[in-house]
Structures are given as C-alpha cells and as structure tokens.
C-alpha cells in the first residue's frame, strides 16, 4: 500500500547536510520560499481565529482605527484646525502606524515566545515574521474601506493616485518585517526587549507625523524628525491617498531605499542568529 504511494510520486529525495551552508541569508530565503504555503495557512489561521472569536469579527479591523480616529479628532482637531479634513489626515497616518506597530510587536512575540514550538519542529523561523506581516497586510487593505468613507465624509477628494497605495504598502511591509526581524534577533537572548519595545513605540509615534501636520513643525525640529525612517514611510503612505499626489521618483527612491535596506540588513542579521532559537528557547 505504501510502496504504491512511493511509486506514484517520486520527488527528489531531500538531503540535509549541516555543513552545506554558504550564506545564511540565502538559505533562509530559500527555506522560507519552500514553506510559502505555510505562510498562507498561518495568515488564514490568524484571520479565521479572529473572525470566529468575536461577534463582529472582521468588522473590528475597520472599527478599531475608526474609533481611535474619532477620539483623536475630538481631542486634537481644535489644535490643528488648519488641516483640511483633519480626521482623514489622522486616519491615513494612523492605519500606517498601526500596521507597523502591530506587525512588529506580533512578530517579535511570535519568535521570542515560540520556544517550546521551536524545539519540536524545524520550520524556517522567518516564516512566522512573514506571516504576521501578511496578516497585518490583510487588515491594512481592509482598513482602506473606512479611510475612503471618512475622506468622503470630510470632503477630502479621492484621486486616482490612490492606485499608488500598493507601492506604499509594500515599502511599509518591508520596513516592518525588517524591524520585526531585527528586534527578534535580540529578543532571543532577552525576552524583556518586547516590553521595552512597547515603550519605544510610544515615543516613536510622537516622533512621526501622525497626529500633527508636517508644516506645524518648526524647521529646526523638522531636521531631527527627518532622521526617523517612519517619517518617510508614513508620509509616502499618505501622499497618494490624503494629498492626492503621485510620488516623485525621488520620493520612491528615498522611501524604497530606506525600507529595502532595513529589510536586507535585518534579515541578514536574523539569518545568522536563527540557529540560536533552538538553543536559547
């Protein structure tokens, strides 16, 4: 019975050699690609589990940023009344920020707390980070719905440039995956980095133009804020949506370089550390 099965499908017999590793990053990419169906299953699992657990399910993905936006608008709109359609301004920045904050935190905890799991089975570790970013991407696309609704309500014109959003989402995803992998490589040794990271995020959101308009920043301070990579990522995200402008080649080059360099460098560090997961957990 079993031999018949073997005859039917005789794929190349895999061969594992611990000595055959040339470049850890390349190995990790190859392995993650091999497990691509697992990424899809994990994303599906996260979304299904969320859907099944609560009454409103997926609707929360849209209601959550809306609720935050309402609170922030009530609190800050008087302060920044010069901004046209402040609610849309806040929401467009906020969903980009939420994507970043949630996907990085989730991938760090998945990797740092996956201890018992990592000692039982071999799975390329990066798969878990990729899957959390994948789940966050689904949520991000869903939260475009309330964003468009809010823009209509507060009379911010919706232009065709919104079609550039997939590119901004790609940059945002690359940057978030990079930061998630980078901090996870440290969190293997010190799990309390996760707590520390939450505090960093709190400070980081105020260093990023989410709540306040860029032109409200004094030039001196602006120079400092421009050292923050999220400054570019969030601005690039807003550009085709809220501002209705197509990004210039310069915008694409700057933001693209930031996000891709972050991803490559972090993934390189992570791949060199990923053997440690089974040792330290």
């Amino acid at each position: 019975m079993f031999s018949k099965k073997l005859e039917q499908k005789q794929p190349e017999i895999p061969f594992y050699d611990s000595a055959r590793r040339t470049f850890p990053l390349l190995d990790e990419i190859k392995e993650a690609f091999h497990y691509r169906d697992l990424v899809v299953e994990l994303v599906r699992r996260d979304i299904l589990a969320r859907y099944k657990r609560s009454l409103l399910g997926i609707a929360w993905t849209m209601l959550n940023p809306l609720g935050m936006m309402i609170v922030l608008t009530v609190v800050f709109s008087q302060l920044f009344h010069t901004v046209q359609g402040y609610a849309a301004y806040v929401l467009s920045g906020l969903i980009a920020w939420n994507f970043f904050a949630q996907s990085t935190s989730a991938s760090i905890s998945a990797l740092a707390w996956g201890g018992e799991f990592f000692r039982r089975i071999y799975v390329p570790r990066s798969v878990f980070a990729i899957a959390t970013v994948g789940t966050a991407l689904v949520n991000l696309v869903l939260s475009m719905v309330p964003l468009v609704v809010v823009m209509l309500v507060v009379h911010v014109p919706i232009r065709l440039t919104i079609l550039y959003s997939p590119l901004s989402m790609l940059f945002l995803a690359c940057f978030s995956l990079g930061i998630g992998l980078l901090i996870s490589s440290v969190a293997i040794y010190f799990p309390d980095i996760i707590e520390m990271y939450q505090i960093v995020l709190m400070a980081w959101i105020y260093l990023t133009p989410i709540l306040y308009p860029i032109d409200a920043i004094p030039p001196k301070l602006l120079r400092i804020l421009m050292l923050n990579p999220m400054f570019y990522i969030v601005t690039f995200f807003r550009l085709p949506i809220y501002y209705g402008q197509a990004p210039t080649l310069k915008d694409i080059l700057i933001t693209g370089t930031i996000s891709i360099v972050t991803l490559v460098v972090s993934a390189w560090i992570f791949a060199r550390r990923s053997d440690e997961f089974a040792y330290r957990a």
Binding site: K5, L6, D17, D37, V40, E41, R45, K52, I121
Partner: protein, 249 residues
C-alpha cells in the same frame, strides 16, 4: 550526495555546546549592568561530545541513556531543529519527527483547518495536503468531528489527528520519541502497524525510549549515550545490558 551507500543518517564528530550564563541574567538591563561591571561569565555545557554515528537504511535504531544524557538533543540534530556547534550531520530523505506531532494545532479552528496548518508546517504544500486529506481523516477515524473546533476534541482524538498527519506519507526517516501512546488500544495497534509497514518498506526508524524491553524487541541496533558521549554502538541487547549495568540494575 557524498554519503556512504545505505546510510540514511550520518553524524561526524558532532558537538553541541550550550552557552549558559553562570549567573542567571534574564533581563537586558541586568545584562547591560553586569557587562559594564565585567561580571558576565559564561559557562559551557556540552550536550553532545564528539558523536560519530551511522544509521542504515531500513534499520530500527534505538537510543538509550539516562535523562539529560543528550538523547533528545541528538534527535533534534537529525530533525534539523538544531544545528551542531561543531561537526557534521547528514540525513538522506524526508524526516518525520513524531516529536512534532500536532505542532501548531489551534483550538479555535476545525480539524480540517488544522490538518492543513500542521501539514504545511511539516513542509508539505497545500496541494499535497489536499491529496492526502481524505486518507488522513480516514486513518484518524475523525470524519464526524472534522469540522468541529479542536477545543471540543479529547486529547486522544488530537493525538490521533497529529499522528495521522505526520505519518500519512512514508518518510525516509521516522523519529519516535518515547513509545507511542496514541489514543485507545485499537488505535495504538493501528499506529504500530503503520510504523511496522514503514520499516518493511525501507524507512529508517530512530527510537528513543526508557522502556528497555521496547528497545530490545523493536531495535536492530542501539546506541548508549552517557553525558553526551557515545559509550556503545551495536547490538541493541548489548547496548541495553551495558546501560543497565552502568546504572546498577
């Protein structure tokens, strides 16, 4: 594939070295302070020392040794969960680690959804899992429960599902950590029969057990590991005898 013919698992001079911080430093703050004060001392713990070992095709190979001797570490090397600190590990063929049975099971999802997650974690594609799906459910005898969330499964049912997924395709190497106690007596018989048929079809079985009679009965050869070192490799009865002598039984 420069591995001797008929060998499926080859370990050459393998070391596994854990680095432990002598004083328990669990937080980053503490580490930073101690590092500055120069108080970080690292101790080395060798879980495996210079292990060289060949396991042949179609063999049932046993591992005996006390707790903490390094048996599980050795299994993890073969399952590529761990990478050796030094030395070389080569494995020909797909490894089904039964220590990974039911890995990634999620309580809120149905048995059906869990089959796909667990299967892709074992390295299969979604398509391969679709083809196997019916016979997995058939073997686990869970047709009536397949669309029910896993939280309403009994632990026996979960183990049956995990075993069925892990062993649906015959692997070249099957790793069994402790003897299977899956489900009720009838299912145990069924799972043992499946393992036996794997062996008859040329799979290599790597078995760790504290049940000495299991090792004697099932294994052709065995290794005795003590404090990370291989003390003996050869006939399973002799391996068990030597191990028992050493612990004074």
């Amino acid at each position: 594939m420069d591995i001797p013919p008929n060998v499926t698992i080859q370990l050459d001079n393998v070391y596994v070295r854990y680095r432990l911080l002598k004083s328990q430093v669990r937080t980053f703050k503490e580490y930073a302070i101690r590092r500055i004060q120069g108080q970080i001392e690292e101790a080395e713990f060798l879980a495996l020392k210079d292990v060289t070992l060949s396991v042949y095709r179609g063999e049932v190979f046993g591992l005996v040794g006390s707790n903490g001797a390094g048996k599980t570490t050795l299994l993890r090397l073969v399952a590529r969960i761990m990478h050796p600190s030094q030395g070389r590990v080569r494995v020909l063929g797909k490894v089904a680690p039964l220590l990974a049975m039911g890995a990634g099971f999620h309580n809120e999802l149905s048995g059906r959804e869990n089959i796909y997650i667990n299967g892709t974690m074992l390295g299969f594609t979604r398509k391969e899992m679709e083809q196997k799906f019916d016979s997995i459910v058939e073997f686990s005898e869970l047709w009536d429960f397949i669309d029910v969330p896993l939280r309403s499964y009994s632990s026996g049912m979960m183990a049956r599902l995990g075993f069925a997924v892990a062993t649906e395709t015959m692997p070249e190497v099957l790793i069994v950590d402790e003897i299977l106690s899956v489900g009720d007596a009838a299912f145990q018989e069924k799972s043992l029969a499946r393992i036996r048929s794997f062996r008859e079809n040329g799979a290599t079985i790597f078995l760790v057990s504290h049940g000495m009679s299991t090792i004697r009965e099932m294994c052709t050869r065995a290794a005795w590991i003590d404090h990370g070192e291989v003390r003996f490799i050869g006939d399973s009865n002799e391996a068990v005898d030597r191990y028992m002598d050493s612990v004074g039984c």
